[in-house]
């Protein structure tokens, strides 16, 4: 359990780093595009136009990053149990029932995310066999790997939440 939590913390840090990198890229690349276009349209600079030609890969890249950022954010959120939910019962249920609720909900989440890992792996495999290209030299399936990876990380964290609640209950009974 402690080992699992340590792994979780390490992945967390990596995910945070990636989020910062990707968001910075999204802002910088899009801002660059707009600036260049403004130079071209309002200033009639030819070099801005030709530079834009070299940067035509940024637009699909930025769109893909939206997906990556979404999955990384969602998987970080899973560890904190802060996904959007209808949260009425925390107020209404007696507090000693809460661990049981958490275990049941985590189990359901693990099952659903496991199916999603499988489903998105199927999708990646499909794209792989098509051999489509994201950019020259970069196959399209690379961009999609975040889906199985992201769902797997969510699965891992739902599992961790369920386990820690279950261990907590067992620990209470022993002494």
């Amino acid at each position: 359990m402690i080992l699992l939590q340590r792994i979780d913390r390490a992945i967390r840090r990596a995910e945070g780093g990636l989020l910062i990198l990707f968001l910075s890229l999204m802002v910088t690349l899009t801002f660059l595009q707009i600036t260049l276009r403004a130079f071209h349209v309002y200033g009639r600079f030819e070099w801005a136009n030709s530079l834009m030609g070299y940067l035509d890969w940024t637009e699909p890249l930025v769109r893909l990053l939206v997906l990556w950022v979404s999955f990384l954010g969602a998987s970080l959120l899973t560890g904190e149990g802060k996904h959007i939910k209808i949260d009425l019962m925390s107020e209404l249920l007696p507090s000693r029932w809460l661990p049981y609720r958490e275990i049941i909900l985590s189990a359901a989440c693990v099952a659903v995310t496991a199916l999603m890992v499988q489903a998105s792996l199927g999708y990646v495999r499909m794209e792989w066999s098509f051999g489509g290209r994201l950019f020259p030299g970069v196959p399209a399936w690379i961009g999609q790997t975040i889906m199985p990876a992201g769902f797997f990380l969510m699965l891992f964290r739902f599992l961790l939440r369920g386990l820690s609640q279950a261990l907590g209950l067992l620990g209470e009974r022993k002494p």
């Binding site: 945070g16 989020l19 910062i20 968001l23 910075s24 999204m26 802002v27 899009t30 801002f31 707009i34 637009e59 930025v62 769109r63 893909l64 939206v66 997906l67 950022v69 979404s70 999955f71 990384l72 954010g73 969602a74 998987s75 970080l76 959120l77 904190e80 802060k82 996904h83 959007i84 939910k85 209808i86 949260d87 009425l88 019962m89 925390s90 107020e91 609720r101 049941i104 909900l105 359901a108 989440c109 659903v112 995310t113 199916l115 999603m116 499988q118 489903a119 998105s120 199927g122 999708y123 499909m126 961009g143 999609q144 889906m147």
Partner: protein
């Protein structure tokens, strides 16, 4: 068997299962029954990477989180106090206007009550506003400003329904002003009635406050101007907003440090984006199944037997959305319900832009509706009062907001006049 599983699933969602898991499970049940491979859902989720509009979501969220930190809220409150403070009920107006404004510039991501509640509620009490009135006012103000750009719910509505986001931004202006305005009049009326003490207008304080707020105040106006004049699209405006806000916060005010604050805010805001987008992805999967299974058509046929006229449809819509709004958060509600309603609205000749404005007004008000409106719970824990007190305190505000909802719903011109000028 299927029905049993669906009921079990609904039960789990009501007990706090993450909404996206619930939606995915529902889609899986449907796909399984019609014998379609689950990778169909993965294909739908991947659409998140093929929609240029969606780039606006992380960007405006980031800008909103940047503005949510540091002294922006205090500067805004000081400014609106210098403008409205001298009017009877002025501080109430200050609270309403600042909350609406703050909700707008932070993209309606739900930080308003947290950022402004601690500042405004004690101020209202110390100026001898009745406690019930102050509580109700702060709670109701949580559903103001949803219509003003760059509201994320509007962007999501535009994406799901296929309506131009630029038009939606412009359409929301008048209805949004109406909702804020009516509550301001109420505060003015009560202020007169209670004959509260009020400070005199001070021109020098106004200038000082203006100077303090001069950098952040123009943000929503610049966004509207950029879109209205066709200078930039919603997405481009989002990037410009991020860059502008970033420079203001780090270089002008030096409130946020590059090494610690900015990375933390980046991660925090992207978690919010993840929360919304994963629900969006799940909803795309579910909608795809529902459309393939002709579910919207079936609901439409069913409704046609019951509702004959446009007015009848709108009344049903209002009641239905109020119920949805008091159960669900605004993002999940839009993502799940809009695809089902849009084809029906078309049938009854309701303009999709107008429909978007109705949706937001309705769901926002649903937040304040007993027994389970979300704002009531947030305010109950934020101000440490029992939920029953909040039901009572919010009631007059709820009544007034419902009045504006009726106007917004049955007077399409209010929403459609400004976009009709846009060409």
């Amino acid at each position: 068997m299927m029905i049993l599983l669906l009921i079990l699933l609904m039960g789990l969602v009501l007990f706090g299962l993450p909404v996206f898991v619930g939606i995915m499970a529902a889609a899986m049940l449907g796909l399984h029954q019609s014998g379609v491979d689950f990778s169909a859902m993965a294909i739908e989720i991947f659409r998140l990477a093929n929609a240029p509009v969606l780039l606006a979501v992380p960007l405006f969220t980031f800008a909103g989180y940047l503005l949510g930190e540091g002294g922006t809220s205090a500067r805004l409150v000081r400014f609106s106090r210098s403008v409205f403070g001298w009017i009877p009920g002025g501080l109430g107006i200050v609270a309403l206007v600042s909350c609406a404004f703050f909700t707008a510039i932070t993209g309606a991501t739900g930080v308003t009550i947290i950022a402004l509640g601690g500042l405004l509620f004690p101020a209202l009490i110390s100026e001898k506003y009745k406690e019930d009135f102050s509580l109700g006012l702060m709670t109701a103000s949580g559903s103001l400003g949803l219509h003003f750009p760059p509201s994320l719910p509007l962007i999501l509505y535009g994406f799901v329904s296929g309506v131009s986001i630029e038009r939606l931004f412009i359409a929301g202006l008048l209805p949004g002003v109406l909702m804020v305005g009516v509550l301001c009049l109420f505060s003015l009326f009560m202020g007169k009635k209670w004959n509260l003490e009020r400070p005199a207008f001070s021109f020098s304080e106004f200038l000082k406050a203006l100077k303090g707020a001069a950098w952040e105040l123009p943000v929503p106006f610049l966004i509207v101007a950029a879109i209205y004049t066709g200078f930039a699209t919603a997405t481009e405006t989002a990037v410009l907003t991020v860059v502008y806000v970033f420079l203001v916060k780090t270089l002008v005010f030096r409130e946020l440090t590059l090494r610690t604050d900015i990375p933390r805010i980046m991660i925090e805001s992207m978690k919010m984006v993840g929360a919304i987008m994963i629900v969006l992805g799940a909803a795309l999967g579910l909608t795809n199944y529902l459309v393939d299974a002709f579910v919207p058509m079936k609901i439409l046929d069913f409704m046609k037997g019951m509702v004959e006229s446009k007015i009848g449809f709108l009344i049903m819509l209002n009641l239905f959305l109020l119920a949805v709004g008091c159960m669900m958060d605004i993002f999940s509600a839009i993502l799940v319900v809009v695809p089902l309603i849009v084809p029906m609205a078309e049938q009854f000749q309701v303009d999709p832009v107008h429909l978007g404005v109705i949706f937001l007004a309705n769901l926002g008000i649903g937040y304040n509706t007993p027994p389970v409106g979300l704002n009531l719970f947030i305010a109950s824990s934020r101000f440490d009062r029992p939920i029953i007190t909040l039901y009572r305190a919010t009631l007059p505000f709820l009544f007034l907001l419902l009045l504006t909802l009726v106007m917004i719903t049955y007077w399409p011109g209010l929403s459609l006049f400004l976009p009709s000028l846009l060409k």
